[in-house]
Symmetry: C2
Subunit: 280 residues, 2 copies
Amino acid sequence: MPELAYLNGEILPIDKAQVPIEDRGYQFGDAVYEFIASYNGRLFCLEEHLDRLERSLNGLFFPSVSREAVRKAVLTLFEKAEIQRAGIYIQISRGVSPRNHAFPDGVRPQIVMTIREVEEKPPELRKNGATAITLEDFRWGRCDLKTVQLLPNVLAKQKALAAGVFDAIFVSSEGVVREATSSNICIVADGTVITHPLTPQILPGITRKVVIDLCRELDIPVSERFFKTDALYGAEESFLTGTVTEVLPIVTIDRHRIGDGQVGPVTAKLHETLRQRSIA
Amino acid sequence: MPELAYLNGEILPIDKAQVPIEDRGYQFGDAVYEFIASYNGRLFCLEEHLDRLERSLNGLFFPSVSREAVRKAVLTLFEKAEIQRAGIYIQISRGVSPRNHAFPDGVRPQIVMTIREVEEKPPELRKNGATAITLEDFRWGRCDLKTVQLLPNVLAKQKALAAGVFDAIFVSSEGVVREATSSNICIVADGTVITHPLTPQILPGITRKVVIDLCRELDIPVSERFFKTDALYGAEESFLTGTVTEVLPIVTIDRHRIGDGQVGPVTAKLHETLRQRSIA
């Protein structure tokens, strides 16, 4: 079960894969990415990830990238690595060109991937729930595009770890709760699952969408609307959603206990159903 | 006069210089940079650039990087390239590590440089003045750190070019004028040079500082304070400041003619004095 990289058509060991220093991904963060996980040797939501990748590429006016070629590369890499529970990271940059802000002419997007075993969240975290802090959102205005403009997320995650908690949740200057550093957030209030609507301020999460669909199937009321920190602190339950995060309970935020401080029934039900669906 | 790269101690052709795909500069934009220019074979404001580089590194809690080692590398590269009018780009990333938001332990910052002939601004642009549009600032909240979180700057510059103008000027949602995509901005109002104060929203520009000092020497009143688009449109003069930009007049913004639409006397005087100082 080797860890492997893909680099513009070639498959090679990760530590052998290199890009030119004038790749625009390196000098401008002019690149988009996706992360796809497999369960029992099957990629989960591959087409949804390819959809979002296309959306990010179009949103940044990239030269055209063949969806079919990306899909084929993902499948080849996945087959070659023979990892049952794999995480495939895909990054596409605008291309390589002498440094200049404006889009360069005639460059070819660079396609890079890695495949590794997924690092599962610790079982205690899933069982007892995670902790978080909030902090003011200081990211750029297009968080709906899945780009490598991730330094604020890095700094926020590090701040959370330094504070002894699992993650940080970005909140607008007016108190609107956006999302965490690498996952969306939902609360349960009066039995309804509530999550931030799709705007440029949050990532259109694929697990977020799956969870909304599961709520509808399971007859759990669900609503995409803005909510503030007071609603977060006063929620019955709170959880993060993401590809590796899946559905992860958050039981303490800014030292406020959420609900009774235990993993709630809606969170537990959604995670269980999501796992069943993903390993099906 | 070869174009060269520097890569962690080695000097090599630019197109041979590569970094691992798991360099955090590539996957997170977790890197800082500087751009230093020479005039007549002498580097201008080298120590000021090294100061700011240190400030950016500290602001992001990077592992320690020897200022002396960076200076030595810059000077070696500069000597080796034998370019009279050189532009040296320096980029330092946090290091190389399997992708994970949190700061990795025990990694070594990666130091990359390129040296090339400076591409001068066209003489017509300096003579007749440049044009610009404004757009709402959608960058992240730490623009005072010189990082590669530059995608908004890229998109804004491209938008300006598509609109047939030279550059875009970022303006807050309340109308406060911040800076352009790769330079600071000043206006002249009632004979006073006015520029945005140093806050997390703008880069602490080195040419900005040199210009403020020149104003004081030349007995031109100068003030660091907030101003809005109405003051910008109604200014007597307006100009950008930056390492390659130097002092560049802006004569039309959002189709408003600034002053009489010609390069103003304060702008001309400051540019002339700056050039004298830099080639001295």
